[in-house]
């Protein structure tokens, strides 16, 4: 059987479902092909906050803010509830030097108009009564710059809402080949277990697996899987009122300064960045870390131990709460920490929309909208030249 579509999106994570929705909304006859179930990749093995305060000042923050506000618009528009919630965020600073560095960062963001502010120990303890009393302070982002959603419900929502515009989704789809026109090298069709699919446009949204799809058309896409693990608590009191992250981890990664946290070798080795949030079902999510382990997403016992050790430093009461589950996922990592949202000069009709590392959920609505502009041959409402695939050289 041969089917024909205006556009074919590969990968049904937060990025692919958003791209597919936006293309269908623009009137293109669109198919979404997914090798497993919808949201079976990174987008169901992650946290789900959209933040501006974990972004570099400039374009990174701007994309974040755009996406956060756009999420709110979609939450109002969609019949499908994806658990959108505005909340505050605290980047907690264990020590004075961290506080000082966070303040520098805050000043830059303030200059661009983002209302971040510092809170000192006393106010922090009032905002977060369960936090360790000796934490020096925190960088606070009000709910205007921080949201939470259910990451997999975001994917389901885009698909269900996209169906209203005629979007067709094909799950458990095995793509065996992508055919290009021998003369022009432009996109012609795909071979799948559903038959041959003719199309002039393919958008590769396969996240950490995007390089596999790239290989089918002879492209080398520099994305690597970067593992992260979370622990899920039993239903319990919301130990925190805001999304909590530790500033020291971020600081230890800054170039140029030689900052080291006062942590055990295990926490260092496991590259733990403590974070804590509550879900709408009243579980706590306790994380997290960043490791390169290929596509192995088994939870490592050492990681669990290290996360708990670090978490107890900030929230001692966690000690008596039960963990009921763990999960690990991979972030689609790109060396310059910016996603690829781009056409490909050498292959007309082939687009890449992947590599969102730790921000794919946050950037999903933004990315889908910009990608639709690119595919429609329009100007984007945002300068995204830095996200071009050509930056890696050909």
């Amino acid at each position: 059987m041969t089917m024909e579509f205006d556009a074919v999106v590969i990968g049904a994570g937060a990025i692919g479902t958003s791209v597919a929705y936006h293309l269908a909304e623009r009137g293109l006859k669109t198919a979404l092909l997914e090798k497993g179930d919808i949201a079976s990749g990174s987008s169901s093995h992650c946290d789900a906050v959209g933040l501006i305060c974990d972004k570099q000042p400039g374009i990174d923050t701007k994309m974040g803010q755009y996406s956060i506000d756009y999420y709110e618009e979609l939450a109002k528009k969609f019949g499908f509830d994806f658990e959108f919630e505005r909340k505050g965020c605290l980047y907690v600073c264990e020590t004075e030097p961290e506080f000082a560095a966070a303040e520098e960062y805050m000043k830059k963001q303030n200059a661009d108009g983002y209302p971040l502010r510092m809170v000192e120990n006393k106010e922090l303890c009032e905002m977060e009564p369960h936090i360790s009393k000796d934490i020096y302070g925190a960088l606070y982002t009000p709910p205007s710059g921080c949201i939470a959603v259910s990451p997999y419900k975001v994917c389901f929502a885009f698909v269900e809402e996209g169906k209203k515009y005629g979007l067709e989704s094909y799950t458990y789809c095995d793509i065996t080949k992508i055919n290009l026109d021998p003369k022009t090298n432009s996109v012609e069709s795909l071979e799948t277990n559903y038959g041959t699919i003719k199309t002039k446009r393919i958008i590769n949204c396969a996240g950490a697996w995007a390089p596999e799809i790239g290989k089918m058309v002879g492209l080398n896409i520099p994305i690597e899987p970067r593992k992260g693990t979370n622990l899920v608590s039993e239903k319990c009191e919301r130990l925190c009122n805001n999304k909590i992250l530790e500033y020291g981890y971020m600081m230890s990664k800054f170039d140029g300064i030689n900052f080291k946290r006062n942590v055990s070798p295990l926490v260092e080795e496991q590259n733990i960045a403590f974070n804590l949030e509550y879900t709408q079902a009243n579980n706590l999510l306790v994380g997290g870390n960043r490791l390169f382990r290929g596509f192995d997403t088994r939870t490592e016992i050492e990681t669990m131990k290290a996360i708990c050790e670090r978490a107890l430093r900030f929230y001692p009461e966690l000690a008596d709460i039960n963990c009921i589950r763990t999960y690990s996922g991979v972030r689609p990592f790109v060396v310059d920490h910016l996603p690829i949202v781009s056409d490909v000069d050498s292959i007309p009709g082939f687009y890449i929309c992947a590599g969102h590392e730790g921000d794919g959920i946050c950037f999903s609505p933004f990315t889908g909208k910009q990608m639709a502009h690119i595919v429609m041959g329009e100007d984007t409402d945002f300068d995204i030249s830095k996200l071009d695939f050509a930056r890696f050289g050909k």
Binding site: V286, M304, A311, I324, R325
Partner: protein, 94 residues
């Protein structure tokens, strides 16, 4: 077995998920236990599906005309049973 499950029957007690909700998840494209879990939370509770998984499998099998063992299981992840964060930090994991 077809009419064995009435729609308002609770399948997952921990998360209070009914037969009707599981059928809706299947309508939305869930083809296995994990797909149902992600859509309606059946199996996400304190017992992590120990109580409800068999029944969820049977409902999916019935709806899709498959065999219960063809619709998968929840992915195995530590810990095996609920365990305090404090214990994990001390290296007690099982």
């Amino acid at each position: 077995m077809a009419e064995y499950f009435s729609d308002d029957m609770i399948v997952c007690r921990c998360e209070e998920v009914t037969v009707a909700e599981i059928k809706e998840a299947i309508r939305q494209g869930a083809k296995d236990v994990v797909g149902v879990k992600r859509r309606v939370r059946a199996g996400m509770g304190l017992c992590q599906g120990r109580t409800c998984e068999k029944m969820v499998q049977q409902i999916i099998a019935q709806e899709l005309g498959a065999k219960p063992w063809e619709v998968g299981t929840s992915s195995a992840r530590p810990p095996i049973r609920p365990i305090a964060f404090g214990d994990i930090a001390k290296g007690i994991v099982e």
